[in-house]
Subunit: 337 residues, 2 copies
């Protein structure tokens, strides 16, 4: 049901019954390598294009989630997913392989939580028994499309971020048939587009921070909760600069969010000595960290209540060339155990 | 609620309280010109890029729908929309202008009914009071991105289709407060990706026909209805070739759909003497014809029950270059008065 202006409360609390998380060679060297189900040794993954490797990451993540959830494809009514590539073809081609009725979505790096919010709403209200949802990105496809082919060796400023190669998917279910100790989706807040006039595509974290803060503030207003309700508030890919900006904005707005309870997936996934500049980015940043690392931590009892805020920069190479500023968005979903 | 494997029955029958439909110079010369609210005299529309004109079409369509519905932006909880352009930037930039919480979706030319299905489900279940949803395309932005800039003057085979310049939007409401004689959204069927191995991007109607037939067959199976239930079954942009293929497939599958009750938006919007080859296409094909022409015909009593089947070809220029076949999808929504 609608609460406040832009949030949903899920009365039947849909359950994340299983997840599947895949990654590439850079993630294999990262801090959260143990939280991935499949890690490839190279960016090609046995395919003859990076785009096909991108599609493979999605197919494998869904396949793993199906196996871990002991569920058949024909028990799942819908799939809701997206990615960064033009016309989200890796997602649509994976949907062709999987064969489940398909909603394509686009929210750039906010896609993971746009999908989980929609999936949870549909399940909460009996529109499906099971839905598979998630998001993916591939470093080499994103570099080629948004910047230059990696072979070009273009340099980047320290504010730039590193696109995660990976896919994170969850099977979300109307009800929990087996184990009571499963993560439940309890609320969602859908973001507005926020644009503070920043136009540097090499500082997307800074551009996205106001959108994250806008959605987090709306979440507390709509739900009547305050920051102390959560053990962790985690953003998708603000990186170092965006996270610092968001903390400043919380302070300015009188939102009392403690620094150690406010983390960013883009600062969790890699080790400090990996050359990722300001942090990780891409739809797979939040999708792999939330569905891999954080769901595991919820199950292990480290957290009981987390708010996952996936952030997206809704630009394209053409809008940058046309001197537009960067519209940003964030969607928040709370997961509790 | 879920009925069958891939359909929803909307028990509270969300109402289309108003629509806004905009178009360009080619649509101004077309057969349905009287059903557009705003028609521009040139493709630039006073903007300095075609992409900005594309965004303007969306903003104007939503503005008209708000005015005709006598509804304020702050009474609308969500907007659900998409388009064909990379990273759906015309939609995201319009969402920045309008300022309503935003779900970006991508289903190529099936976007209009993907959005209406989601909007109707959310409204039916109390997830919002009002939602604005729709889709748009612009001939010159699509030509530049998918083929060549129009200035290049490239020739096309007779199987090619003409991208509609326009935007079609609807404000859909949880309940009908005023007039009982408003179109209601009663069911939706979400399509699977269907790919019969066709790979010619200049014959997308032929590629999309099997997806349309798959979704229509699933709709009848899930709802227990048969073709005689509807006064009209209308596809989005199959064009001449796709429509003929679909009729053949109906016959093969024993689906008794009469030829005069099976129409295609892509064959309705332009006059016979306009040089559109096999018909119109683009997300605006179904969006402008359904929200402009057909909603008017429902209100005028010409039809009582229609099934709107928006069809999408989920390709990109890169997938064509990489010699992939064309995955296609169709989503069906029934509208009754």
């Amino acid at each position: 049901m609608l609460i406040g202006n832009q949030s949903w409360l899920f009365q039947n609390k849909p359950v994340i019954i299983s997840t599947g998380v895949t990654g590439g060679p850079f993630e294999r060297e990262g801090r959260l390598a143990d939280d991935f189900d499949v890690l490839h040794e190279d960016l090609w993954m046995g395919e003859d294009s990076y785009e096909k490797a991108h599609r493979l990451l999605i197919e494998e993540a869904i396949q793993v989630a199906l196996e871990k959830g002991s569920i058949q494809k024909n028990q799942i009514q819908f799939m809701i997913l997206g990615d960064l590539i033009n016309q989200i073809t890796p997602s649509s081609f994976a949907a062709r392989t999987i064969g489940i009725p398909y909603f394509g979505i686009f929210g750039a790096c906010s896609t993971s939580m746009e999908g989980l919010a929609l999936a949870a709403f549909i399940l909460d209200k009996g529109g499906a028994n099971n839905i598979v949802t998630g998001a993916a990105s591939h470093n080499a496809t994103a570099e080629r499309q948004f910047r230059y082919p990696t072979e070009y060796g273009g340099q980047k400023p320290p504010t730039a971020q590193w696109t995660v190669t990976g896919a994170g998917f969850a099977i979300v279910s109307k009800q929990n048939n087996s184990n009571q100790n499963e993560p439940k989706v309890t609320t969602a807040t859908i973001g507005k587009v926020v644009d503070m006039g920043l136009s540097d595509p090499f500082n997307m974290g800074g551009a996205m921070a106001p959108a994250a803060v806008d959605t987090i503030a709306a979440h507390f207003k709509d739900t009547g909760r305050d920051p102390s309700y959560y053990d962790l508030i985690v953003t998708g890919d603000l990186g170092k600069i965006g996270r610092a900006t968001a903390l400043d904005l919380f302070h300015q707005q009188g939102l009392n969010i403690m620094e150690d309870k406010f983390q960013d997936c883009g600062l969790m996934i890699y080790k400090e000595d990996q050359p990722i500049q300001a942090g990780a980015s891409g739809p797979a940043s939040s999708a792999t960290v939330i569905y891999g690392h954080l769901i595991k931590q919820l199950k292990q009892g480290k957290y009981k209540k987390i708010l996952c805020v996936a952030t997206g920069a809704l630009l394209s190479p053409m809008t940058v060339q046309q001197k537009e500023s960067i519209p940003c968005i964030a969607h928040a979903v709370s997961i509790e155990i």
